[in-house]
Amino acid sequence: MALLEIDDLHIGYPTDNGVVELVRGLSFSVEAGEAVGLVGESGSGKSQTALAILQLLRPPVRILKGAIRFDGRDLATADERTLRQLRGSAISMVFQDALSGLNPAFNIGRQLTDVIMAHRRSSRADALKIAVEALGMVGIREPESRLRQYPHQFSGGMRQRVLIAMAIACRPKLLIADEPTTALDVTVQAQIVELLAGLRERLSLALLFITHNLDLMSQVCGRAVVLYGGMLMEEAPVAALFASPRQPYTRALLRCVPRLSDAPGAINSIEGAPPVAGRLGPGCPFVPRCALQVAQCVERPPERVDASRRVACWRAEG
C-alpha cells in the first residue's frame, strides 16, 4: 500500500453556468520515502491538488469526487481535529512565498516551538532543543542565536530554510513542496533543492515536489507526474521521461527546456494558448495545440499502463 494514494480526484467550484473543474480525474500515488515530481504549467491544477491533500482548498473550491488516502486513511472524510493533527506533523507543506510565510510579529524560535508543541506533548525547553536541531538540519549556522531573531532579519533563502525546518521538525512522512524555489534567485534555488533532496534521504520522508521547472524536478525526483488542464498526461520515471517522452504535451514541454547548445536568443514555446478551466470538453485538453490530433481526441483518452509508465493519449504507441 502506498503512503499517499490519490484516486480519480476531481476538484472544482460551482458557478451559475455549471461546475468548473480544475482537476479532472487525477490518480497517482506516492510510496513511503519516494520523491515524486508533479509537473505542469500555471493553472494545470498542481497546487490545487496539494491543497486538496491537506484538505485546505479555499471555498468555493472543493473536492467534487474521488478519494485521497494517506497511510490507508481517507482524508476527505476525516474530521477537522484529525486533519489538524496530521497537518504539520505527518504531512507538511512548504510553499512558494517564503518571503511572507513567517509571522513578522514573533521571533522564529517562538514560531518553531509553537509548531512543535502543537504536535508533540513537550515543554518549551524540549521544543527549543528540537527547534535548534531542525535549524541545524536545514543548514542554518548558530541556530541558538538565530532563534531569537525576527523574520525580517533573514534573507529570502534563509526564510525558506526556516519554513522547511518548521515543516520537518515533527518528522513528517510526507513533505509537499509547492514551488518552493520560485521566489528565490537561481543560486539559492539550487541550494534549496539540494537541501530537500538531502533531507529526504536523511529523514526517509516521501517528497511530493510541485514545480514547473523540469530541471529542478529532475534533480530531486525519481518519478514524475505531468499534468495539463487538470488531467494526467504522462507518468514515468524521470530518466525515462526525459529520454523518451511519449505524450505529445510532454514532448512539447521538454523541447521548451532551454539548453546551452541552443542558438542565442532562441526560446522554444508551445504554440497556442493554455487551456481555460471550465471551457474544456471531455477530451484531451491538449488537442487545440497538438499536431498529432485525430478525430478520437475529443473523447477522454485512456491511460495506457506499461510497466512503470502511464500515458494518456489516443496516439501513444502501446
Binding site: 491537506l54 485546505l56 486533519l83 489538524r84 493533527q85 496530521l86 497537518r87 504539520g88 506533523s89 507538511s92 507543506m93 510553499f95 512565498d97 518571503l99 511572507s100 510565510g101 513567517l102 509571522n103 513578522p104 510579529a105 514573533f106 509553537d114 509548531v115 502543537a118 504536535h119 519554513l163 518548521m166 515543516a167
Partner: protein, 290 residues
C-alpha cells in the same frame, strides 16, 4: 523604542500624559488642601504662596481641585477606551477573519453606531435617566459609570474598523496559510497570529480616543450632566468660573482650562508619536536615513 523618545513632541506628550496620570493617582498625597473644604473668608483669592492657583467662589483651593479633577477625566477616558478596545477588537477581528454573514451583520451594526454623535447621545441618555446613581437590579450604577459605558459603546466603531482593516489584510497573508498547513486551528490563528499584527493602529487610535473621552467628560460636567458638584471636575470648575470671565478673576477659568487642554494635547502628541513609531512604512523610511 529609543527612537521614539528622541523626538521632542513625543517627549512633551509623554510628560504631559505622565503629569495627568500622576495627579490622578497621587491626588490624596499631593493635593495641598481638601478639595471640598469651603472657606468663604478666603473666596476668589488670586494665586499666592498659600494658594498657587488661587481660590474659587467658595474659597476652595483651585490647585487641589484640579489635582482631584484629573481622576474623573482620566477614569472616563481610560475606561471608556478599554470598553471600546475590547468590543471593537472582538468585532473587527472576528469580522475580518471569519467573513461572510457575520462580517456583514457586525460591520453594518458598527456603521450604524458610528452615525450617532457622541455628545448628543451622551447628553440625551444622561438627560433621560438622570445624573443620580441608577439602580439596575442588585447593582447601582453611579453617574460616571454611565458616562463610561455610553462613551465606551461609541468608541467601538472606530476601533472595530481599524481592527477590521488590519484583520482583512493579515487574514490573507501567507503566514496565515502556512499556519493552517502546520495544523493550527482557526481560533489559534485568529488570536495568536492575526491579532498581534493588527494591534499597532489600535494602540494609536486608543491613545487618541482617551483625549476625546477627557473632552466629553469635561463637556458633560460643564453642562451639569457629569460629575456631581461639589465633587471636583475640570468641566465643572469651568462652568463655575463662567461668571468671572468679565470680572477679572482669571485664575478661576485659566487653570482648569489649561488642565483640559494640556492633557488632551498630551494624549494627542503621544498618539501621533506612536503612530509614527509603529507605522511600518514610516519605520522603513527612518531606518534608511539611519
Amino acid at each position: 523604542m529609543k527612537a521614539l523618545w528622541r523626538r521632542p513632541e513625543a517627549c512633551i506628550g509623554l510628560i504631559l500624559v505622565l503629569g495627568a496620570v500622576l495627579m490622578a493617582l497621587l491626588a490624596p498625597w499631593i493635593a495641598p488642601y481638601d478639595p471640598l473644604a469651603i472657606d468663604l473668608a478666603r473666596k476668589l483669592m488670586p494665586p499666592s504662596a498659600a494658594h498657587w492657583m488661587g481660590t474659587d467662589q467658595n474659597g476652595r483651593d483651585i490647585l487641589s481641585r484640579i489635582i482631584w479633577g484629573a481622576r474623573p477625566s482620566l477614569t472616563v477616558g481610560v475606561l471608556a477606551v478599554t470598553i471600546g478596545v475590547l468590543g471593537g477588537v472582538a468585532i473587527g477581528l472576528s469580522a475580518g477573519y471569519v467573513r461572510g454573514l457575520w462580517e456583514q451583520a457586525a460591520m453594518r451594526t458598527v456603521d450604524g453606531l458610528a452615525s450617532i454623535p457622541m455628545l448628543i447621545w451622551a447628553i440625551a441618555v444622561v438627560g433621560i435617566v438622570g445624573v443620580g446613581p441608577l439602580p439596575i437590579g442588585p447593582w447601582t450604577l453611579p453617574n460616571e459609570s454611565k458616562i463610561i459605558l455610553l462613551v465606551g459603546i461609541l468608541y467601538i466603531p472606530p476601533l472595530a474598523r481599524v481592527t477590521y482593516g488590519g484583520a482583512l489584510v493579515e487574514s490573507n497573508a501567507d503566514y496565515v496559510r502556512a499556519r493552517r498547513m502546520q495544523g493550527a486551528s482557526r481560533l489559534a490563528i485568529m488570536f495568536g497570529d492575526v491579532l498581534p499584527n493588527c494591534l499597532s493602529p489600535v494602540i494609536v487610535q486608543a491613545t487618541l480616543l482617551i483625549a476625546v473621552g477627557i473632552v466629553v467628560e469635561a463637556s458633560l460636567s460643564f453642562v451639569g450632566l457629569g460629575v456631581e458638584p461639589p465633587n471636583p471636575s475640570w468641566g465643572g470648575m469651568l462652568s463655575d468660573a463662567r461668571k468671572y470671565i468679565f470680572s477679572g478673576e482669571w485664575w478661576t477659568y485659566v487653570f482648569p482650562g489649561l488642565a483640559i487642554s494640556l492633557s488632551v494635547i498630551g494624549f494627542n502628541l503621544l498618539g501621533d508619536a506612536l503612530r509614527e513609531f509603529l507605522d511600518p512604512r514610516r519605520a522603513a523610511g527612518i531606518s534608511v536615513v539611519a
